[in-house]
């Protein structure tokens, strides 16, 4: 019994030292990774400055032909920085973007609608746009989106289709194949006023590299780029992301 306790002692001590050692290694690896990201961040800042200065000609005249619809996803906490959002929209307007969708997962941007539109006189809300009004370089259509336009809207659209299905139920033996189709879902979303176009590009501002629940029905082939926190947004990084998109070629599964 005594010898067993004596054996347990060194084994326990070895296990503790081993565990501590592994934790140290793990923290060291993460320290190295954090340092790498810091250095990359510095390089990105320099790059952004050079692009903004106009020294690199390829960024001066962006070909926006492929970028018909741009979406911006903003972390809701950061979306409260209305001045930053306005500045971002101003940059997009200066670049020549004509159709922009702003999204956050708590509807903060929708609540800030008046503050945003007050500062940007050449921006029109999507539903208020008079189609006869010509969109010159300074005018921009702005859509404000939130989860009510995403998963909630899909659920409401499903309810519409379900009502139609029940009507058919008594008339035919339809099992739903003719009612629940992608085309009918799109049509139901349109009837609910939640059927904006699929963005060509979604730029995400926030700490997490995810799309923040952007309406799933509109994300099939959207390019998604994480831009980092909104508070650190840079004009050069925006130009670079849009420029890179203009070089992309999509096969659409072929």
């Amino acid at each position: 019994m005594g010898s067993t306790n004596k054996m347990r002692g060194p084994n326990c001590w070895t296990a503790r030292v081993g565990s501590f050692g592994l934790q140290l290694i793990w923290h060291f690896i993460h320290f190295i990774i954090s340092t790498c990201y810091f250095v990359l961040g510095l390089a990105d800042a320099v790059d952004s400055y050079v692009i903004s200065s106009g020294l690199l000609k390829k960024y001066n005249d962006l070909n926006l032909g492929k970028l018909r619809y741009l979406a911006i996803g903003v972390d809701s906490d950061e979306a409260r920085q209305t001045s930053k959002v306005i500045k971002l929209l101003q940059w997009l307007s200066d670049i020549g973007m004509k159709h922009v969708c702003l999204y956050d997962e708590e509807g903060v941007l929708k609540k800030s609608k008046d503050a945003i539109l007050e500062k940007l006189s050449h921006v029109r809300l999507f539903e208020e746009t008079d189609e006869k009004l010509p969109l010159d370089k300074k005018n921009m259509n702005l859509e404000l989106a939130s989860p009510s336009d995403g998963k909630e809207a899909v659920a409401k659209a499903a309810n519409l289709l379900f009502t139609k299905h029940l009507e058919l139920k008594s008339a035919t033996e339809d099992q739903g194949e003719n009612v629940f189709t992608e085309a009918n879902m799109s049509e139901a979303l349109r009837a609910l006023g939640c059927s904006g176009p699929e963005p060509d590009l979604l730029l995400v501002y926030g700490p997490a590299r995810c799309h923040l629940g952007f309406p799933p029905w509109r994300l099939r082939y959207t390019e998604i780029v994480h831009m980092g926190p909104l508070k650190s947004m840079k004009h050069g990084s925006l130009m670079k992301a849009i420029y890179k998109f203009t070089l992309v070629h999509q096969n659409y599964g072929k």
């Binding site: 998963k151 659920a155 379900f162 992608e182 923040l212 029905w217 994300l219 599964g253």
Partner: protein, 229 residues
């Protein structure tokens, strides 16, 4: 560690023409499955074939269907030994009958395995998955299996094919070959998934690249839409 990792295995055809690229891709998948199993990741979902891929040349599609059959047959013994549970999501009706049967048999044989759940998305479309979930709910109500007043998000989520898993929403999505999009993959489930886009083509994606993806995942601040207090 993430509980559920999803992968869009892109770049086989760019890596090598004809079958060589896809064969090399199978090796990468084998290695990733092994790593997930060893490192305690519970669920691995792989996007093997999109519903949009049916428009590819007939020869390539037949080659891929044949490859899927060979892989399942070759790996089944491995799956049983390693405790891997196989599940298939997607529109199986478009698949050759022989492949449908192989998948069904593999799912049945491995259903009690619990070390790793390997979900293969074949002939899969995110949009179709959502519509299919709604159709299933409607049929259940029609057959009086379900009392329903309203469709809700949670109900739709419960009927998506990924509800075969304990963790239906991936924590981490990896897409290889430098493309930055979801390509109609798990559109509903990926709302708060960390997105890791890597330049390497799928046959070149190995242990080092997977470690980089996991380290990147652990570095990021993750929030599921709730504020950090």
């Amino acid at each position: 560690m993430p509980r559920h990792v999803a992968v869009i295995m892109d770049g086989n055809a760019r890596w090598a023409r004809r079958s060589a690229g896809h064969e090399a891709g199978v090796k990468s998948l084998r290695e990733l499955t092994k790593l997930c199993s060893e490192w305690g990741i519970g669920v691995l979902t792989v996007f093997a074939f999109s519903s949009d891929n049916w428009v590819r040349p007939k020869a390539e599609v037949e080659l891929l269907m044949g490859l899927f059959e060979r892989v399942i047959q070759m790996e089944l013994e491995n799956f049983m030994r390693e405790g891997v549970q196989v599940c298939m999501i997607g529109d199986s009706l478009n698949l050759p009958k022989s492949l449908q049967k192989l998948f069904a048999d593999a799912e049945e044989m491995t259903k009690n395995n619990s070390r790793l759940q390997l979900i293969a998305a074949v002939s899969y479309s995110g949009k179709h998955g959502i519509v299919q979930a709604c159709r299933t709910i409607a049929c259940k109500v029609k057959d009086s299996h379900l009392e329903l007043e309203d469709f809700g998000e949670r109900l739709i989520e419960r009927e998506l094919e990924t509800s075969c898993s304990e963790f239906p929403c991936p924590d981490l999505l990896i897409r290889t070959s430098g493309e930055l999009r979801l390509s109609n993959f798990m559109l509903w489930q990926l709302a708060y998934t960390e997105l890791f886009f890597v330049r390497a083509l799928w046959p070149d994606f190995g242990k080092a690249e997977f470690i980089e993806a996991l380290l990147s995942y652990q570095q990021r601040q993750r929030r599921y839409g709730a504020r950090v207090s």
